[in-house]
């Protein structure tokens, strides 16, 4: 296999600081050396390479944009985006694993947890000594999480939780799950630990996408948790889980570019070396048009991700910006993966190449963290001021 060469058509490299490039190059090298050699067997087996968790922690990719006092790296958001890009260049399952830990578990504990909760959980999660999951989506409530059926009932100094969550990344292996449930005063967030009576997290099998990632159901049957230690005191209302998702979706907007870049690089080098009717595939006009279109789309996506990152570092990034970034970049990544699969011909369906794996993964990424259509409507609402989600 040729060494990976990331497309940088407009010399965006010079827009990044030396630290940002170093962060990116470190994660890129790690993915090439340590992750790519094992991903195919794990994808086929339907397992995540858990033996790499200590190395990911040593690299510092869990919650890297959280402060150093909790054992995190304190990086800016552009560097965080580049980390997501490089991880997803490996596999969307790897980026999901890291996104959930950082944006959906560490971030809510950091933003809405008590000091004790932060001191207890954040260093463990940063060091990979504890793994987290995020329970919002339910079997009947995906795009409309506000309709959730999970309930929290207060009982003395404790809360009793009941409900089911679906499509939860890392659920089965999580030491702690951030679970959202409706209480009398609105939606509240709880920390549910592995092994608590009434709590189970069976794995959802038979996926043909994100196979190198653990996906689970969370089942809560009269799970009793202490309010002082296991409820996020400052998390009140749907805006809190949605705020977590904005963090994660920001990372996905970068991550999807990584998958697109991997596919593009593979299809470009394949089309230059594959001889068809006595000349390389790349010497024909149809492949060139595909490459030109894909190169342009990736470059536009990179510009959008970079702009979002700079806005986020200035504290000016708004959820509707992230709607556009996630929607566009995942969409183009999926289209690019499909086109690259086509360009590799029959080889495109083999796991010896990356394109098919990325293509099937991106079908999940297209749907999770806000479906493509829901992001469309969010942008529509930002433009018109009229929410079109609901009937009537």
């Amino acid at each position: 296999m040729q060494p990976y060469k990331a497309l940088d058509y407009l010399d965006l490299d010079s827009e990044f600081s030396q630290d940002e490039r170093m962060v990116r190059d470190t994660v890129r090298a790690w993915v090439s050396d340590r992750f790519l050699p094992v991903v195919t067997e794990h994808f086929e087996a339907g397992t995540f390479p858990h033996h790499l968790t200590p190395e990911l922690a040593e690299l510092g990719v869990f919650g890297p944009n959280l402060p150093e006092e909790y054992g995190c790296a304190g990086l800016n958001n552009v560097a965080y985006g580049l980390i997501c890009q490089e991880l997803e260049r490996g596999d969307s399952g790897l980026r999901s694993y890291v996104s959930v830990q950082g944006s959906l578990v560490m971030y809510p504990i950091f933003a809405w947890g008590s000091d004790e909760q932060k001191k207890h959980w954040l260093p463990k999660l940063a060091a990979g000594k504890a793994i987290g999951s995020f329970g919002l989506t339910e079997p009947d409530f995906g795009s409309n999480p506000g309709g959730m059926a999970s309930r929290a009932r207060k009982d003395g100094d404790s809360w009793i939780l009941n409900g089911r969550k679906m499509w939860i990344t890392n659920g089965t292996i999580a030491d702690v799950s951030v679970v959202w449930a409706r209480a009398e005063d609105g939606i509240r967030g709880f920390l549910v630990e592995k092994g608590m009576p009434g709590f189970s997290a069976p794995e959802q099998k038979h996926k043909w996408s994100l196979r190198a990632s653990v996906t689970s159901e969370l089942v809560l049957e009269d799970v009793r948790v202490k309010e002082a230690t296991h409820m996020l005191p400052k998390a009140k209302g749907l805006k809190c889980p949605l705020g977590c998702l904005t963090q994660a979706r920001y990372g996905i907007a970068w991550g999807a570019l990584g998958a697109a870049l991997a596919c593009f690089d593979e299809a470009l080098s394949y089309s230059k070396s594959r001889i068809v009717f006595d000349k390389p595939l790349a010497a024909y006009q149809i492949p060139q048009k595909k490459l030109a279109d894909m190169g342009t789309q990736i470059t536009l996506g990179q510009l959008m991700a970079l702009r979002m990152g700079r806005l986020k570092d200035e504290g000016r990034l708004q959820p509707h910006h992230v709607n556009m970034g996630k929607r566009n970049n995942v969409h183009i990544a999926l289209e690019i993966a499909r086109t690259c699969r086509d360009m590799l011909g029959a080889n495109g369906i083999s796991l010896e190449y990356q394109v098919g794996r990325h293509m099937t993964n991106l079908e999940s990424v297209y749907t999770y963290e806000g479906t493509h259509d829901i992001h469309t409507l969010a942008i529509g609402e930002a433009l018109t001021g009229i929410p079109a989600y609901r009937v009537g």
């Binding site: 470190t26 690299l59 150093e68 304190g74 990086l75």
Partner: protein
């Protein structure tokens, strides 16, 4: 223990070499640079030695352009304590001895217990600067080291890989070691390390020019490989193939 690791920035492995217009070296446009492979091992050994001893300082030293700060910061991110950049506008045309003289002058001032270099830089492939430095500094030197042990009382044990096998040496500090593949597995610069590196000092020092004693007359790319020839097919072709390998290619 005070330790100096000498490094060099070299063209990245994927560089497509082109000859510059003056015909004397590599065309610098579009070339990406990286830390030389064996120097990465030298930096790792310096950091591990400090960790094993439990105290001390690791200083990374290079002679190069101002841009070599990038490679130095990478070493700081891996765990070195500070860096010194001998800024040399003529770095790309400098010969081994003048490089060694400039580095030796600085190392002399620093007076470290141990100096590590890579066994060879992956661009010029001379393997000369390390031993020259040791000579100029009057230090004991073992090259191509694959195992190093710090003994008590300022003693070192070094294993060197040679064509004959493994050679075992004992030497006293201060010393210089050139590092061979296998000595260690270099670490990644972690993200926390990258952030920590921002607070570590990189000192830039202008160098006095030392004249080169050798200079490149002309640089040429290797000639393109000749097209292959099919001598036949199947088992029947084996004698012809052996004949061609013996007589024409002279490789068997």
């Amino acid at each position: 223990m005070k330790i100096v690791a000498c490094i060099k920035r070299v063209p990245a492995t994927e560089t497509q070499a082109k000859i510059a217009a003056n015909g004397k070296g590599l065309e610098p446009a579009g070339v990406e640079y990286m830390l030389s492979f064996y120097d990465e091992i030298a930096v790792e050994e310096a950091i591990r030695t400090k960790e094993r001893v439990g105290s001390g300082e690791v200083i990374v030293l290079t002679l190069g352009p101002a841009e070599a700060r990038k490679e130095l910061v990478e070493c700081l991110a891996k765990g070195a304590d500070r860096a010194i950049l001998l800024v040399d506008p003529a770095w790309s045309s400098r010969d081994s001895l003048s490089t060694a003289k400039l580095l030796a002058a600085k190392i002399g001032e620093l007076a470290p217990d141990l100096v590590f270099t890579g066994r060879v830089a992956t661009d010029t492939d001379s393997a000369a600067v390390g031993p020259m430095l040791a000579t100029l500094l009057g230090r004991g030197c073992v090259t191509d080291v694959v195992k190093l042990t710090i003994e008590g009382g300022g003693k070192l044990k070094a294993e060197r890989e040679s064509e004959a096998g493994i050679e075992m040496y004992e030497l006293a500090l201060p010393a210089l070691i050139t590092c061979q593949k296998g000595l260690n597995e270099p670490r990644y610069a972690g993200l926390k390390g990258i952030m920590a590196a921002k607070k570590k000092p990189v000192e830039e020092v202008a160098v006095q020019d030392v004249p080169n004693q050798i200079a490149v007359e002309t640089a040429q790319l290797p000639p393109a490989r000749k097209e292959g020839r099919i001598v036949g097919t199947g088992a029947a072709a084996v004698p012809a193939l052996l004949e061609a390998l013996r007589k024409e290619a002279q490789v068997v």
